[in-house]
């Protein structure tokens, strides 16, 4: 069979589209099947590969298979260096592009033009978004994707602090900022204010981070150093919690950059003597935490004052077991049993103005209108209460429920009379509630989790959405991305809620916006169509060879 001249002229487009499609198909269909369905998935993948292989006409088989392998290799390869520093990223990418291009040229014999166009196409696609992040595309559009410089041994993943602005919220996080030699020399000569200040400076010089702000201005995303005057607008806990209580964060302002570095909370003798009293860990670690917090706070306050900023205090705080502050102009004074205010919401009835207070093994709902505790929950040994709690509605426009990330995680609701009810317990120890997202006003809220496959015996968690109905969570979708941590709902552009997430073990982050394009069904349909075209070509090929031989 000889393809006509017109079809040959457009052949490069077929190659380009297939090169992109096969990368997407791999991330959206092949990967998920194996990751979710274990052996069944592997069998399904084998069947899919068989179907595909048999659909390729014999004359194109070698060419098409090797070209597919080339497209996959290039996609994965370019994404694997996507987060290297720019200079090494360029070097590795060029080596990879040239190497794979010439290999493909000689092995596939698909024609230099087809391969060149596909290579460039994959390059542009991976620059837009690395293939490794394509799984998000099945249910999200990417409002922003980027990477901060970060040493995972210092901080495992980017933390998020949120600043409220006039036109939406912005994010504050950390990025490695190694001082130049001249800067270091100058800083060293100024480090005189405490016994350890020079030592700390020199030890931590390669591990200094600066505060950066990611914000939405005039239709695009801007990443800039956080202006020191805005320091007071963030809650330091949001930035230090991932290393608390084992490291102290120190802060300073250098040339309008807010710089931070970590030092161990304990010196060698103290850390060793702590380890020689293992029976007292419960009390000693509380003392250690208190010490770390006090040091952290005095460091923070000093830096905020130096920066010419002032701390914006939360409207409601608990001092000596009393919830105090101001709410809608009215002073609040309610004795409680907890130590922190977790969140505001409507827990006992719709529209109620309440706050959730937490202490050791205790939760309390305080009603701000009536100024009293309206519900109390005591945790048990088997169903504990960690710090990590998410609140949000289970049903559209309903009361707020409490999603507790214990082991296993569970959901509590509060009745009108203040009684707490356990409405759901996770079937495994790995499920973690991340956020409740009211993505579409007409739909029930999406409960966003990280949880493992039900079939596979591994705790690898994937980014998943559920809806709650009658004591059960029903899965809406799953994005086959693991290591998605620090999920932060954010009003990125006023009026709608997006999600900022960080990827564990890297400085990578994404701002995700829910999308409703049927990416997955479209991919499946396209694959079936491609196979049908292949079979069509094979039938034609067989007919024409029969005609020739007769």
């Amino acid at each position: 069979m000889n393809p006509s001249k017109t079809s040959r002229r457009w052949m490069w487009l077929v190659y380009l589209l297939w090169a992109l499609f096969v990368n997407g198909f791999n991330m959206w269909v092949i990967g998920p099947l194996v990751k979710d369905l274990a052996l069944l998935g592997v069998i399904a993948v084998l069947l899919i590969i068989l179907l595909w292989l048999t659909s390729i006409p014999a004359y194109a088989r070698k060419k098409w298979i090797t070209f597919t392998v080339f497209a996959l290799l290039l996609g994965q390869g370019l994404s694997s260096v996507a987060f290297y520093p720019t200079d090494s990223r360029i070097i590795y990418s060029v080596i990879m592009l040239l190497g794979l291009f010439f290999l493909a040229l000689f092995i596939t014999k698909a024609g230099w033009r087809n391969i060149l166009v596909s290579t460039l196409g994959i390059l542009v696609a991976t620059i837009w978004l690395p293939v490794s992040e394509w799984p998000f595309l099945t249910h999200f559009t990417i409002a922003k994707e980027g990477r901060m410089s970060l040493i995972p041994a210092d901080i495992p993943a980017l933390p998020w602090a949120v600043i409220n602005g006039k036109n939406g919220q912005s994010l504050v996080t950390l990025s490695l900022a190694v001082p130049t030699k001249a800067q270091l020399k100058e800083l060293a000569s100024e480090s005189t204010h405490s016994k350890n200040s020079l030592y700390n400076l020199l030890q931590s010089a390669d591990h200094e981070y600066e505060l950066v702000q990611i914000r939405h201005v005039g239709g695009h995303t801007e990443v800039r150093p956080l202006p020191p005057r805005d320091m007071g607008k963030i809650q330091p806990w949001d930035l230090i919690s991932s290393t608390f209580p084992f490291a102290i964060s120190h802060w300073k302002v250098v040339d309008n950059h807010v710089i931070t570095y970590l030092s161990p909370t304990l010196d060698a003798e103290s850390a060793t003597s702590l380890g020689l009293e293992p029976v007292s860990y419960p009390g000693n670690f509380l003392a250690l935490s208190q010490q770390a917090w006090d040091t952290d706070m005095s460091e923070w306050q000093e830096a905020v004052t130096t920066a010419g900023s002032s701390m914006v205090l939360p409207a409601l705080e608990i001092h000596h077991n009393v919830l105090e502050g101001e709410w809608h102009g009215a002073p609040i004074h309610v004795p409680v049993k907890g130590q922190i205010v977790l969140s505001e919401g409507s827990f006992t009835s719709r529209g109620a103005h309440q706050v959730l207070v937490e202490g050791a093994d205790i939760l309390q709902v305080v009603d701000l209108n009536s100024q009293q505790v309206v519900g109390t929950y005591h945790a048990t040994l088997t169903r504990g209460l960690p710090h990590n709690i998410v609140t949000g509605p289970l049903r559209q426009g309903g009361r707020d429920a409490i999603f507790v990330n214990a082991t296993p995680a569970y959901i509590l609701t509060v009745q009108k009379d203040g009684q707490f009810h356990l409405v759901y317990t996770a079937p495994n120890d790995s499920l973690r509630f991340e956020a409740v997202l009211q993505s579409k006003p007409s739909d029930p809220p999406e409960i966003i989790t990280n949880d493992p496959s039900a079939l596979r015996d591994v705790p690898t968690r994937y980014f998943t959405s559920y809806t709650y109905r009658q004591g059960q969570l029903y899965r809406n979708w799953r994005v086959y991305e693991t290591n998605v941590v620090n999920v932060q709902p954010i009003q990125w552009v006023g009026g709608r809620e997006d999600l900022a997430v960080s990827i564990y073990g890297s400085g990578e982050y994404l701002i995700l916006r829910r999308s409703y394009l049927p990416v997955l069904p479209a991919t499946a349909v396209a694959f079936v169509l491609i196979c049908l075209v292949g079979f069509g070509l094979r039938i034609r090929e067989r007919r024409s060879s029969r005609v020739q031989s007769s």
Binding site: V34, G41, V42, V45, L46, L53, D154, A157, Q203, S242, T243, F244, P245, F246, A247, L262, P264, L266, D267, A268, E269, A271, T272, S273, L274, G275, L276, E277, P278, V279, S280, Y281, P282, G283, N284, F285, L286, A287, L288, S289, I318, H320, K337, Q339, I340, E358, G359, A360, D361, L385, H387, N388, N405, D429, R432, P459, T460, T482, N483, Y504
Partner: protein
């Protein structure tokens, strides 16, 4: 014959291709986050002589000449689980060698008699020696105090620890009983702490204390609840592996 061979060749090619595919789809490594691994307790059966068995094993421990210890403390609250861990040898009365992992800092400590060194950021420096490095006096002090509270001791299923089967006791001790006798923080008592769950594992061979686990929740102002789990394993009791020797890197650094 030739067509036979052709079929055979074709079949084996498909076989190899399929095998290759299974390998291809099978490898998907990913970073795993650690999960807490504490021994579950049931509180089903009371152990009438629990406290005396526990205290006897600790008494026995105070007689040891040398032993090794490893422990790990995790802050469960934090979804990223930072931890503190130790590994070391103690040779009484005054020799210690211990590695400490604190968050993301690694520290080594070495002491013999009145001379002590610590290893931080790649080099050794002179440190202050610790008096009486031994975990058992505080075990005795605090567990005797806990026994006085009369908290019931429960017998849990046998566990295998390091190299022997152990009798497992679980007890819920009022937090104050554990906190007030602590030495490191001067016995500070935190009013909002919940009872501490202690799981003690005592070897069946020599009635030695082999492992202690604690689960505790305290709550601090502004920070909120802090849930901790700790596991401490004692091993190589009176064995030569527990001898404390001068670290090779210290000798090297001092000679250079």
């Amino acid at each position: 014959m030739s067509s036979h061979r052709k079929v055979w060749k074709r079949a084996s090619a498909w076989g190899i291709a399929l095998l290759g595919c299974t390998f291809l789809v099978g490898c998907s490594p990913s970073i795993q986050q650690p999960l807490a691994g504490m021994t579950p307790v049931s509180f089903q059966k009371i152990a009438p002589n629990g406290w005396s068995a526990i205290l006897a094993s600790v008494q026995k421990g105070t007689q040891l000449k040398k032993y090794q210890i490893k422990s790990k403390v995790e802050v469960v609250d934090n979804s990223l689980h930072p931890y503190y861990a130790t590994y070391g040898s103690i040779q009484k009365p005054d020799k210690v060698s211990m590695s400490v992992h604190e968050g993301d800092f690694n520290i080594d400590f070495f002491q013999q008699g009145k001379s002590a060194f610590s290893f931080i950021n790649g080099h050794w420096s002179v440190a202050t020696p610790l008096s009486n490095p031994d975990v058992f006096p505080t075990y005795l002090q605090i567990l005797e105090g806990a026994a006085k509270t009369g908290a019931p001791v429960y017998l849990e299923p046998t566990q295998y620890i390091v190299d022997e089967y152990c009798t497992v006791y679980a007890v819920k001790v009022p937090a104050a009983a554990v906190e007030q006798l602590a030495e490191w923080d001067g016995g500070e008592v935190f009013s909002s702490s919940s009872p501490v769950l202690m799981t003690l594992m005592i070897g069946k061979r020599n009635d030695e204390l082999r492992e202690v686990q604690t689960t505790s929740v305290g709550s601090l102002p502004n920070i909120g609840p802090i849930e901790l789990t700790s596991t401490t394993v004692l091993f190589n009791m009176n064995k030569k592996y527990a001898d404390v020797t001068v670290p090779a890197s210290l000798v090297k650094q001092m000679k250079d």
